[in-house]
């Protein structure tokens, strides 16, 4: 049935985008948290050189967890790209990740997500709706 077929396709698209968004958000929050722990890389590079800065990042446990999540997100994205258009999956997944990141950054990273940033999130939501549907 054509309608049933379309519904399945839409559900599959939502599932693919959802998988990318969830894993990407977890990865972004973990890596952002790691970089807060590590500190300003410009200053670390001035003190310890480029290798010192790289070592500071790579030896952070939270960074490792974040990379695992981002790797999962990457393979989810590869899978989605092989089934759907870049101009649908790319903006939809990345923009939704922006919104979920704003929420997660407020609650987990305690970033000051002020009115300006929330308004931007609403604009992005509208944009995502237009891009995806």
């Amino acid at each position: 049935m054509i309608i049933g077929h379309l519904t399945d396709a839409a559900l599959a698209t939502i599932g693919m985008i959802g998988a990318v968004v969830i894993t990407a958000t977890a990865g972004d929050i973990l890596t952002a948290s790691a970089m807060r722990q590590v500190g300003d890389l410009d200053r670390i590079r001035e003190k310890s050189g480029l290798l010192g800065a790289i070592r500071a990042v790579l030896t952070n446990g939270r960074f490792g967890l974040g990379v695992v999540c981002l790797a999962l997100s990457f393979f989810s994205l590869l899978y989605a790209f092989s089934h759907r258009d870049l101009s649908l999956i790319g903006p939809a997944a990345t923009s939704l990740t922006f919104v979920t990141n704003a929420l997660a950054a407020k609650f987990f990273l305690h970033e000051n997500v002020d009115r300006r940033r929330w308004m931007a999130a609403i604009c992005v939501c509208v944009g995502v709706a237009l891009v995806a549907f």
Binding site: D28, I29, T31, A32, M35, R36, V38, G39, D40, L41, D42, V57, L70, F74, F75, L77, L78, Y79, F81, S82, H83, D85, L86, S87, L88, G90, P91, T94, S95, T97, F98, N101, A102, A105, K106, L109, H110, E111, N112, V113, D114, R116, R117, M119, A120, A121, I122, C123, V124, V126, G127, V128, A129, L130, V131, A132
Partner: protein
């Protein structure tokens, strides 16, 4: 509860260049990946090894190199700017990616999708005019706190 966290700008010209690198490497990296995956055709979940095989395709490999560059510049930017600043600040990538999809990959991009891109870019561009960093350390004196408040207001 402690005092509210203050936000202020940590941006310099060089750091804006790093954000530009985040934008460009992300857009071109994703486009290269898409070009490579289109060449391979649909990948089945029954054969996940095909995804590993895809990594060695030239376009996919080039995309991965660019995305490594993206990751390095992205990590650097997160060490001096908020996640909710860095992501919007690199929003131009959406526009570049759509232009690449339309004119290089020859995908159809409908007027509604173009309008969506405008909304996304407007929203995320708007946020870059604000402060870039939430400082969780308590302000050391009233003067510093006042400066931080002023930066938030602007």
């Amino acid at each position: 509860m402690g005092p509210p966290a203050m936000t202020h700008s940590t941006m310099t010209f060089r750091r804006y260049l790093v954000l530009a690198a985040v934008t460009l490497t992300s857009a071109f990296g994703d486009s290269f990946l898409s070009r490579g995956m289109k060449g391979l055709g649909p990948v089945s979940l029954d054969h996940p090894a095909e995804l590993i095989h895809a990594v060695f395709q030239p376009w996919v490999a080039a995309g991965i190199v660019l995305l490594i560059g993206f990751f390095a510049s992205y990590m650097a930017s997160l060490s001096w700017a908020d996640l909710t600043f860095v992501l919007p600040a690199s929003s131009l990538g959406y526009v570049i990616m759509t232009l690449l999809a339309r004119f290089w990959l020859r995908e159809h991009v409908s007027p509604l999708r173009w309008l969506g891109i405008v909304f996304i870019t407007a929203g995320v561009g708007f946020v870059t005019r604000g402060p870039s960093w939430t400082d969780h350390r308590p302000a050391v004196d009233a003067g510093e706190a006042a400066v931080a408040r002023e930066e938030v207001r602007l």
